[in-house]
């Protein structure tokens, strides 16, 4: 009975955060429209490049594949947003972080729950329609294992981005303003994650190094899994590397939080 008397605080928090995010529905629609236009621009740019090169395939990637690739990576951008550090930054600047100590909830979990509500709406409104377009452009059914692998990669990518974001957020306790670091990190993830061009276009030495970083799983690998251009071995290798990074970032986040929580000062209200 107690279960019904006392609702889970995290679920309640998620519900409130969801309602707050819904207040910005128009913003999510604008994000969708903007990503659609940007993916369209990339289609124009790469069509021009393929035509001038007078080829239908560059390093094994055909023009039609590249169309799908860009709609996919613009869809997956919902996964690599920097919502977590923005939430921490705001809590510190507004002083609301102090109030979290009086609540029967853990602050890190509260941050993830708050951020995930916005991400949930973003995935629904700004990601799914672009995924549908990519699917239509691809023009072939996806197998269940492919879908499962892609979802697993996206989930790992999301977890990595959230942990990186949390560690950046922890920096805000020490240096107050982290907007610059947030923007810089986002740009690095976008470039090294394959958001600007397929990573296989980089020189092979650079590509091999990039595959050992936590970035390809965020955009490039899920897109390549969808397109069927990555082998099962490559996908599993990438997942293994990313899980290792996930473990490292998880431990680093625990250490960062245990050190930082003692020195939190409220900046305002």
């Amino acid at each position: 009975m107690q279960l019904f008397d006392r609702p889970n605080p995290y679920l309640a928090m998620f519900s409130v955060a969801l309602k707050n995010s819904m207040a910005y529905r128009a913003d999510f629609l604008m994000t969708l429209a903007s990503r659609f236009v940007q993916a369209g621009l990339m289609v124009f740019i790469w069509t021009a490049i393929y035509h001038f090169t007078n080829t239908n395939s560059i390093l094994g990637i055909t023009l039609s594949t590249i169309y799908v690739y860009f709609f996919l990576v613009y869809a997956f951008r919902s996964v690599i947003n920097m919502e977590v550090p923005s939430v921490v930054q705001q809590d510190i600047l507004e002083g609301s972080i102090a109030a979290t100590y009086t609540r029967p909830i853990r602050y890190p979990l509260q941050v993830f729950v708050n951020a995930s509500a916005g991400d949930f709406i973003s995935i629904l409104v700004a990601m799914l329609p672009l995924l549908v377009i990519a699917f239509v452009l691809y023009g072939a059914p996806l197998s269940v294992p492919t879908i499962m692998l892609m979802l697993a990669e996206l989930a790992i990518g999301y977890a990595l981005v959230s942990l990186i974001g949390f560690m950046i957020g922890m920096l805000a306790v020490k240096i107050t303003y982290v907007y610059g670091i947030i923007e810089a990190t986002w740009s690095v993830m976008l470039l090294l994650g394959g958001g600007i061009l397929p990573l296989s276009f980089f020189p092979s030495a650079v590509f091999n190094i990039l595959m050992l970083t936590p970035f390809p799983i965020m955009l490039y690998m899920p897109a390549m899994t969808f397109l069927g251009t990555a082998s099962v071995g490559e996908i599993m290798g990438s997942i293994a590397v990313s899980l290792a990074w996930l473990a490292v970032f998880f431990l680093a986040s625990l250490v960062a939080w245990s050190r930082v929580r003692k020195s939190i000062t409220s900046a305002g209200g």
Binding site: A33, Q38, L197
Partner: protein
């Protein structure tokens, strides 16, 4: 009297920028990161174009260094725009009532708007864009006349684009009470402006010349620089730049007259 007013406005603008810089430098680590990030955004374009030209023949009619110069021009133009006007800051200020106190100062509305919401970090983009531009130009030979014509058109185009973006920022506030619209528009302009607009087809070329006029500042000037435009079209683009600047100026004035503070 008129010239006195202009000098006074310029002095106020420069002083505002100076204090903005001082304020920005309070958080030194943060300032360094922001400047590095701003510089990185140019490197971003450099890496992308280098990879594109290493795996393909590139884009019709533009060699690697020419397109690098075009991309750097777009970076510099948008860097200048953001240095004098950050749309997000401006809309936030309108939403919270922060703009109200600024508008009662004894200066013209345009001076107040352009001197209050600059983003100092974008100086990093201007500098890194300029470095890439110089690097590209070291590998190209152009005439002095082309270079002067390029500089004139880039400067005029940047002013017109800034005024136009100012108008769109106010429109964004009037329509959505949010800066998301103008931020998204500028994001699209940043992508489109880094490539020759001709690759987007004639309809989109028209859109990016007249409707969202990034072309007047980042595409046509490099065309002039590399001799792809003759004198008559050059004058036509300059006339268009003046028209867009006027639309931006008058539109901003009209929209600010209907400004209603969002709070306080």
């Amino acid at each position: 009297m008129k010239s006195n007013s202009i000098v006074r406005s310029i002095a106020f603008f420069l002083l505002s920028e100076f204090y903005e810089l001082k304020y920005f430098m309070i958080y030194r680590l943060q300032s360094a990161i922001w400047l590095a990030y701003a510089g990185f955004t140019s490197l971003y374009g450099l890496i992308t174009l280098t990879v594109i030209y290493s795996v393909s023949s590139g884009i019709t009619g533009w060699n690697y260094f020419q397109i690098l110069a075009l991309s750097a021009t777009a970076t510099i133009v948008l860097g200048v725009l953001y240095t004098v006007m950050n749309p997000w800051q401006m809309v936030e200020s309108m939403r919270t009532g922060g703009m109200d106190t600024r508008l009662i100062r004894p200066y013209g509305v345009m001076t107040l708007l352009l001197s209050s919401y600059g983003e100092v970090t974008s100086v990093g983009s201007i500098v890194s864009g300029a470095v890439i531009f110089v690097y590209a130009m070291l590998h190209q030979s152009v005439t002095a006349v082309s270079f002067i014509a390029y500089m004139l058109m880039t400067a005029a185009g940047t002013v017109a684009l800034t005024l136009f973006a100012l108008m769109l920022t106010l429109l964004s506030y009037h329509l959505f009470k949010s800066a998301n619209f103008i931020n998204r528009v500028l994001g699209i302009l940043g992508t489109a402006g880094s490539y020759p607009l001709s690759i987007f087809g004639s309809a989109m070329l028209m859109v990016f010349t007249v409707v969202l006029p990034i072309g007047i500042a980042s595409y046509y000037p490099p065309e002039v620089l590399f001799g792809k435009i003759s004198m008559v079209p050059y004058l036509g683009v300059m006339a268009l730049i003046i028209a867009i600047a006027l639309v931006g100026y008058k539109g901003t004035e009209a929209l600010i007259r209907h400004y209603a503070s969002g709070g306080g």
